[in-house]
């Protein structure tokens, strides 16, 4: 049985956006803090820290999860994807990011990484979604500038069942 003693830092290794990363974390360190403070990947935002706001959402093994409700050590050996990993190989916005840009789907931008990572799980399925399904998925992400209409429009433009809106 592996034991990670409190008060000591232990190595954590996982794949982040296709690259192997490693760092040291106390057993109690949250994945959100590990990403931001140990790895320096500050694109993942921290809001409520008890699983309600969705700002810290990342993808772990292809599934959107709350990084504030996940311990850094629980990510050991997993495959993580964060907002930093969404851009295309030639450093352009991906379809979801572009749709957010075109639909004015962010104001302060604090919730945006979480919104995009939640929607990225939907995008990874290749399926099309109804507006009700998009709204249900986004119900786990809180936006306090309340641009929900624009966020849903952006999501529908890429994932919606009414066909993709051509990028200008």
């Amino acid at each position: 049985m592996k034991v990670l003693q409190h008060g000591q830092k232990h190595m954590v290794e996982f794949t982040l956006n296709g690259e192997e990363v490693e760092g040291f974390a106390e057993p109690r360190m949250l994945l959100s803090d590990f990403l931001r403070h140990e790895i320096g990947a500050t694109g993942t935002h921290v809001g409520c820290e008890h699983g309600v706001c969705g700002a810290c959402t990342v993808m772990m093994d292809g599934k959107a999860v709350r990084s504030c409700l996940t311990l850094a050590h629980q990510a050991e050996g997993r495959e993580l994807r964060t907002i930093e990993g969404l851009e295309t190989p030639d450093h352009q916005f991906n379809d979801l990011q572009q749709a957010f840009h075109e639909n004015f789907a962010l104001q302060c931008g604090y919730c945006t990484p979480g919104m995009l990572m939640t929607l990225s799980e939907l995008a990874s399925t290749g399926k099309r979604y109804t507006e009700a399904e998009i709204r249900d998925a986004l119900s786990g992400n809180i936006c306090r500038c309340t641009g929900y209409k624009e966020i849903v429009d952006a999501a529908m433009a890429v994932l919606g069942d009414k066909g993709q809106v051509a990028a200008e």
Binding site: Q5, V65, C68, H73, A137, G140
Partner: protein, 272 residues
């Protein structure tokens, strides 16, 4: 909003896990998906000195869905249950209730057994365990026992699980094909814990209603022969019997009123 220090023990087998739990008693807490416990740790409502992480134990990642019902291991996530192709056929009530359990991000890590052990009075899975008459299997270094929902659910955030015991699986029996069912809940926001949640099953003239969020544990009431005209009186008596509690989300009076109003709508919908 950071957890107090703790050590993490990562057992390789169930035996190692229960031995570790027996050794450390009340200092140790089990973590699987952590979607209830991590919030408690972050808010320092729980400060265990040891977390026993069972989330990677293959023997606990079990899932069986068939005509007899759903049997789910302690490390199987709510999302894995939700996406099982046979869930809608054999356990449609569980499928409907799961859509109300948190959000997709929490269902991707949260487990059904974890929700049962956390025993929040307004949570959906404890309500379904009680309403469907399910069981919970507990394992310790000295043996295994299986408890019914009413034996297991002892109070607000409390269960009959003893120190040194690990909840290894839970079983939810399926409904007869003749049964009709419905599920409703009221929450301030989509995905929040319910203020009141209700599951109703009607079969061969008998109406069974499970209610969460009003008393400390899910309450199940059964009426052998309930006519539409009797529903308001039956629910009023039930509401007063349950009492209800005041908290930041709602008053006891409001909760009783939801039992009367939402209960009536739900039973009528199921009987129609």
């Amino acid at each position: 909003m950071k957890p107090a220090p703790f050590s993490i023990h990562i057992p390789d087998t169930i035996d190692e896990a229960v031995t570790c739990l027996a050794e450390h008693g009340e200092d140790a807490r089990v973590i699987a998906g952590g979607q209830s416990l991590m919030a408690m740790l972050n808010m320092r409502l729980a400060e265990p000195s040891i977390l026993v992480d069972v989330s990677r134990l293959a023997d606990l990642k079990t899932l069986e869905i068939g005509p007899d019902g759903l049997t789910v291991g302690a490390a199987t996530t709510q999302a894995e249950v939700f996406h099982h192709p046979d869930l809608a056929t054999h356990m449609p009530l569980i499928r409907e209730a799961l859509t109300h359990v948190g959000h997709i991000q929490t269902r991707n890590r949260g487990t059904i057994c974890g929700s049962l052990c956390h025993a929040d009075p307004s949570a959906e899975m404890p309500l379904l365990l009680a309403t469907l008459g399910g069981t919970v299997t507990l394992q310790s270094s000295t043996g295994t026992r299986t408890l019914s929902a009413s034996e297991f659910q002892t109070g607000l955030l409390e269960t009959a699980k003893q120190q040194g015991e690990l909840c290894t699986s839970a079983h939810f029996p399926s409904l007869p094909s003749s049964a009709k069912w419905g599920f409703r809940e009221i929450a301030r926001r989509d995905g929040d814990f319910a203020i009141v949640a209700m599951a109703c099953i009607a079969d061969k003239g008998t109406v069974r209603l499970g209610i969460g969020g009003v008393s400390d544990t899910p309450t199940v009431e059964e009426w052998p022969d309930l006519s539409t005209a009797d529903i308001p009186d039956a629910l009023n008596r039930l509401a007063w019997k349950m009492g209800g509690y005041d908290d930041i989300h709602a008053s006891a009076r409001y909760r009783r009123e939801l039992v009367r109003r939402i209960g009536k709508k739900l039973i009528e919908e199921v009987l129609s």
